[in-house]
Symmetry: C2
Subunit: 442 residues, 2 copies
């Protein structure tokens, strides 16, 4: 075991902003027994949600650990949370916009629900220049996790969905919340409306489409969270062809596209024919460190039609106007700054820094002889621990070397035996984490 | 008719930030006929939505008008959009926070989904000091319109709801989106799950609870948008008693509470027994001019229980963690500044300025002998035009004196014969609007 010498420079990474947990809820529940109860039934969809939300559960365990070892220097390689300060140019742009809100010339009230035209246009021109997405097809929002729920509202509970396994749990959970059954086991599969498409090293992290049933909606995240695999052009061509043949809609999550270092596609719209079968959600969170500032977008092409010929973009526009009221105008000013040449250069430099971290983690695990995936086109490193329960490995690493990770099974049954390590963190933390991992596993 | 002399000082109010309209969608629809269609059915709930969203329709007509009269000085007394610059102290606080995001000490990634603890606590202590709401019962969000949809998701499509008539259309529309039937006429009332509670001068803008059927959920907005009526303490006591007797949950929208000038309650939690039957949504939008900054909150008391005894707050916490990712941290810094003594003083001063506008409009309409409501505890003035169709009066005022209003029927059948006039606007615009209204109606 290594010693935990004080390391003040690590403080930036230590339980930076622990996500608030309603830890005392069950205690509160007991207290109120016997008091007035309404006659309103609990939403059956909420009852169906399995356990707590993954990252909330991790926060809970993190807090427990901090209580148990108040002096340990905890390092978080868990939640994919950006840690490096914003480039000055981008922060200054937001500061100037915020300050100007105190002047008659600079004040703005409600903006367009879909986002300011200049930003919609800049997103289209920066990320989709070669694939001809129009500014009017870009909806600026407060982030892709929120957009996923809005897309679930758009589509309703009547559609079937397929998700990668493993994958980001919000696709499944938000689908359950809007009324779908989320479990394989539900009523002897009769009501199974969520299909899990296994993505593992055996199939190069791409589902076997020959055995995949048709689904109305295919959620597809690339580079994938958690495996870090960026789908190849050939894989995405197969996916688009599969969707076209089946009349499916792909909801493509490209939140990590800016971390792609090889020639894998950065947008589903690089694939011919995708405009008629795909929606893309994306974000400034990981691209520019806006996890707390909150800014994302969704592209809905005009050509995407429901079976009755009605354009999906019209209904999404209605959802955005009725259920949302636009992203914060200050965040939008920051987004616009990110898309200038100065902003893009600064954002790219940050991404490279995180990817150097990823390489260090990959090198560490490789040198330890572990089975290593990801880390080349994404800030996530995906490590296999054959035959082991992923929550057990999570607990062992936390208990012995005070590092927070994410257990793979939290991303679906296909994540069992794996852990996800995030490359976010300042350099000293990554180096220290590498040392501790070497002590534990060598 | 009055003349429209150039009035450069009005420019601040002229189509300030027209909400983007997908005006060309139907044209685009025609273009794409014959192309690939998916086999995904359009969500039947989206099909059920009546017409467009009210404020989107008004924006559409506003744009048409501007095209027709490019030189007219349009004044908007339509959308309730704040127009006065933010107090310098509040804007500076946000600017400082944004600038500090470029430093290692000031950078923040993901915050707690429920909002930063300091802000939750400040909201509890500022707005709910005497009614003992805890910080942990306050969920900080991007605004009350968004929270209304999150509450619909929380409750699901299986509950019945009642709404005031007239009222803010998002309660009904978001309920339809999550799967409820929204129309009286649906399938010969068999599927009627939304009940409209008439609120008119005849019943002092409070529903006749003797003839109101039990509903699981009662949406209640006070001060009401659009009528401007602030429910009295006695009325709210009746409402809470009605909810307790029926086992209903009240969703109380207090977004305009800071405009109450008399001793009407500013929160439903001022009423004894409300903590076991009510949720409150509220906002910094109208309180502090944050319509574009985006910040609101929802209070879910621990004592509020479903029929099976499960606490509602646990499920709402799950919704917030799964479908939302926290309000922008810069906006939260602004919210915290609003709740200091300096911020509160500045916000109150802005509110008084808008309420002076409201009084000017009330005086104008009163002098014209019209039937005038509201404007005393809310920034909305509600005028009756007996026997007339409200869209017709809307069009006449727009066509003849170039003022945008909101037709009452957009808020429900009980709004027919009425128009809503917003008191937001700079003083010169309000004076000019008063002059034009006098020319038209005297």
């Amino acid at each position: 075991m290594i010693k935990f010498t004080p390391c003040s420079s690590l403080s930036g990474a230590i339980v930076l902003q622990p996500r608030m947990v309603q830890a005392s809820l069950s205690a509160q529940r007991d207290e109120v027994i016997g008091r007035h109860r309404t006659n309103v039934p609990r939403n059956v969809s909420m009852e169906k949600l399995q356990n707590g939300y993954l990252f909330t559960e991790i926060s809970r365990r993190k807090l427990q650990h901090v209580e148990k070892y108040p002096n340990a220097k905890l390092i978080s390689l868990g939640t994919g949370d950006t840690t490096e300060p914003l480039p000055d140019f981008i922060a200054s742009s937001m500061a100037e916009y915020a300050q100007a809100l105190s002047t008659p010339e600079g004040y703005r009230g409600y903006g367009p629900e879909q986002g300011y035209e200049a930003l919609r246009k800049a997103i289209a021109e920066t990320f989709y220049k070669d694939v001809l997405v129009k500014g009017t097809e870009v909806f600026v929002t407060d982030g892709s996790q929120c957009d996923i729920t809005r897309l679930q509202l758009l589509l309703g509970s009547g559609v079937t969905i397929a998700v990668q396994d493993p994958t980001f749990p919000a696709y499944r959970d938000s689908g359950v919340i809007v009324g779908r059954n989320g479990d394989f086991k539900d009523e002897a599969r009769k009501c199974r409306t969520i299909q899990y498409m296994n993505c593992s090293p055996q199939n190069n992290f791409f589902p076997d489409l020959k055995t995949t049933l048709r689904a109305d909606i295919i959620f597809f995240c690339s580079p994938n969270n958690p495996t870090g695999h960026a789908a190849t052009r050939k894989q995405l061509e197969e996916l688009v062809e599969f969707a076209r043949r089946n009349g499916s809609i792909i909801i493509y999550d490209s939140a990590y596209a800016s971390y792609i270092m090889d020639d894998s596609p950065r947008s589903i719209f690089e694939i011919p024919g995708a405009r008629e079968v795909a929606i893309e959600v994306s974000s400034f969170s990981k691209f520019a460190g806006f996890t707390g500032v909150r800014l994302g977008w969704t592209v809905v092409p005009e050509e995407l039609l429901y079976s009755n010929g009605f354009p999906v973009i019209s209904d999404f526009d209605r959802i955005v106007c009725t259920c949302f009221n636009g992203a914060s105008n200050i965040a939008q000013a920051g987004g616009l700054a990110c898309l200038t040449s100065e902003g893009l250069e600064a954002a790219t430099s940050l991404i490279h820094r995180y990817m150097e971290n990823a390489k260090m983690l990959v090198d560490t695990f490789t040198s330890l002889g572990l089975e290593v995936y990801g880390g080349a086109n994404a800030p996530y490193v995906w490590i296999r621990f054959p035959g082991r329960n992923s929550w057990d490995v999570f607990s062992e690493i936390l208990e012995k070397i005070h590092i927070i990770t994410v257990p793979g099974s939290g991303f679906g049954p296909g994540g069992e035996e794996y852990l996800r390590f995030s490359a976010y963190g300042n350099r000293k933390c990554i180096l220290e984490a590498s040392d501790r991992l070497e002590s534990l596993f060598s």
